[in-house]
Point group: C2
Amino acid sequence: MGGRREEILDAALAIADEHGLEAVSMRAVAERVGVTPMALYRHVSGKAALLDAVVGRLLAAFLPPDAGEDQGWEERLGALAHACRNATQRHPWAAQLLFSRPAVTPDAVRAVDVIYTALIEAGVPDRDVPRLERLISTFVIGFAASEASGRFAPGTLDPRSRRGRLPEGDLPGHHRLAPWLDLPVDLTTEFEADLDDIVRLIKTCVTTSPVSATTPRPGGRR
Amino acid sequence: MGGRREEILDAALAIADEHGLEAVSMRAVAERVGVTPMALYRHVSGKAALLDAVVGRLLAAFLPPDAGEDQGWEERLGALAHACRNATQRHPWAAQLLFSRPAVTPDAVRAVDVIYTALIEAGVPDRDVPRLERLISTFVIGFAASEASGRFAPGTLDPRSRRGRLPEGDLPGHHRLAPWLDLPVDLTTEFEADLDDIVRLIKTCVTTSPVSATTPRPGGRR
DNA sequence: AGACGATGTATACACCGTATACGTATACAC
DNA sequence: GTGTATACGTATACGGTGTATACATCGTCT
């Protein structure tokens, strides 16, 4: 039946993993499937749709198989964020695609809902939840994309010589921070520190008392 | 002199503004300049370098002509963030390019320094400043990219029907937030609210007393 | 048997970035 | 003047891209 379509998506994902996103051409995918390029169009409407379907498949992998009901909202939020970053570490080419389209696939909507429920449970007023969801997802995806695309990398020049390009007085911040800037950065611990900051930010948005996870209302769901 | 190079960058920027980033081809730029495609290579090493130069020119436009020394750090940070968003609203195609490369051009380094000095002035410990700079710039660029690429757009389906795709019980968050989700969002006020949140986040990172802008230490720099 | 839809193939078109080779025009040394 | 180096532009060509169009081959159903 639709097995051919899955086969095509598998091939595209494998090529992207092995040789990068720019190597994913209709011809290359077709060759991998063992078929003529034009045969792909019987199962996929075009290259854009093909890529959309591939990121949709990745999004599905984000989601905890069953949303851990017994964890607190902080843990659920952190798990989702780490799942996103892990996925873009395994598939760096996918990061830029996450910014391309709104969350339309069912899996993406489910991921958004995980954030919604976490924020509600934290006690964030309903009015602020959608905005904070966009803030959080924007940062998490942005971090993953920055890391994957090399925006966080020091560039070809080391920090010292990069700074040397400009008169020292023009960069008082760099000058003051020099000892810290020359240190290598561990992006994993940085990501965790950022998430801690964001959790603190969420808590400052709370007006009502948060819904306690340890004292579920009697007859709680399930 | 190098006038030809500026002319090429002008042409590329104009084409991107008028017909999108994908319309910027070496042939199209050359035709606009009134020259053969291969002539471009006398002034630009290739297409990637051309695009880098174009975003470099945009970055230069971010920067306040002279960093407003008399404003507080919150105002300077906000001004930079709004400048970034304004630029990507005027040139939506540029948003995705901002994630592609580290800040290597002198102008980009200067923008980073504006954030550094703002955080230092706010009283953030030196050790945390580089991380917070990455957090802030990631969010600001991510917001701009999300807005420009349509990630924040509701998609072709309206929220109601999008939600209708899944059994209602699977999306408790969407269900609860339905009245707010159906409202149109004003991304300008949302961006400002986000920046306010980030400023509050910065203030929670302060341990030492902030450097007051109104009471510079005697014999302050310059 | 015959029609039909699903699937794959063959060919072709317009476009892309750019390597290579060749022209031309100015500037400077002798 | 004469040669030559350098800057700039042109011409042609190669291998790649996504995909429109037309044709062939099936298994299935009537």
